[in-house]
């Protein structure tokens, strides 16, 4: 009855895509216009926080090793922390701009968890390739939210942040449980799934 792992990735990819599109819009129109309607300012931080909450059942039901449990658990924690901090900031309950450092922290932890919990090499199968690619994208991309913490009004940095999130969703959408990557599929990965 449980969905395949790839389907969970696609569902999260859809949520991440929505967050990316909202961020892109905010970068285009500016914070002042984006926050003209009260519900809109809570939209993407709320989706991010919600995805953090939903990562807990993923951790509980899709744990096929301890390292997967740590990885999914750490993503749930940092996504809830970053989304919650952003909600606190837009609500005005949190005032210190240092709370924005939760995003680079989330990116760095996510990147490290992706890289560590993938034990196969890049061209083992598509999922292995994507784990490495996502890991390095998050790890190197952590520079963008780090810079945004110091220059939160920079439209260029906001756009880069949004496009990084959209790129992450595209990577998640291309995930398959057992599929080749650029013609490579290790015989150890098992028969191609579909």
């Amino acid at each position: 009855m449980l969905p395949h792992a790839e389907m969970v990735h696609w569902a999260f990819a859809a949520g991440i895509l929505l967050v990316g599109l909202c961020l892109l819009c905010e970068a285009i129109v500016g914070q002042e216009v984006w926050r003209m309607r009260p519900w809109r300012k809570y939209l993407w931080p709320g989706i991010a926080f919600g995805m953090g909450v939903l990562l807990w059942p993923v951790m509980a039901f899709f744990t096929n090793s301890s390292i997967h449990m740590y990885a999914h658990g750490s993503w749930a924690e940092v996504l809830m922390l970053a989304g919650g901090a952003e909600l606190g900031l837009v609500r005005g309950r949190l005032t210190s701009p240092l709370w924005r450092l939760t995003w680079p922290l989330a990116f760095a932890v996510t990147g490290i968890a992706f890289i560590i919990h993938e034990q196969n090499p890049w061209f083992f199968a598509r999922s292995a390739f994507l784990h490495h690619l996502l890991g390095w994208t998050f790890l190197l991309g952590a520079v963008i939210p780090l810079a945004l913490a110091w220059k939160p009004r920079s439209a260029a940095l906001q756009t880069c942040f949004a496009l990084t999130i959209v790129a992450v969703s595209v990577m998640l959408f291309t995930d398959r449980d057992v599929a080749p990557i650029f013609g490579h599929l290790s015989p150890l990965a098992g028969p191609q799934h579909r």
């Binding site: 389907m7 895509l17 892109l24 819009c25 216009v33 003209m36």
Partner: protein
């Protein structure tokens, strides 16, 4: 020649209209991406061959998820945002 009804379009006004156009294009572009993906990889759409498929295969189909995200974004986010952008531009004129 200059007529009284002709007015110069300022750089700010151009930037505003570019912003509005960019916002209005994001949703349809996302939907188009999903549809193009569906055309290029029709085997990823289990709805085209639903017999014997489980509920998750029928619910979660990546090209349709992309298109759905685009539709939701266009209707829920972009449309009211464009209204607000217009109101903001009118107020600052």
């Amino acid at each position: 020649m200059e007529t009284p009804i002709t007015r110069h379009i300022t750089a700010t006004a151009v930037a505003r209209s570019t912003r509005a156009r960019a916002v209005s294009l994001i949703g349809p572009t996302t939907v188009a991406c999903g549809l193009i993906w569906a055309i290029l990889q029709p085997y990823r759409l289990t709805i085209l061959h639903p017999r014997g498929q489980g509920v998750w295969w029928l619910l979660l189909e990546p090209p349709l998820l992309v298109a759905a995200a685009g539709v939701i974004f266009a209707l829920v986010v972009a449309r009211p945002l464009l209204t607000d952008l217009e109101a903001h531009n009118a107020a600052s004129r």
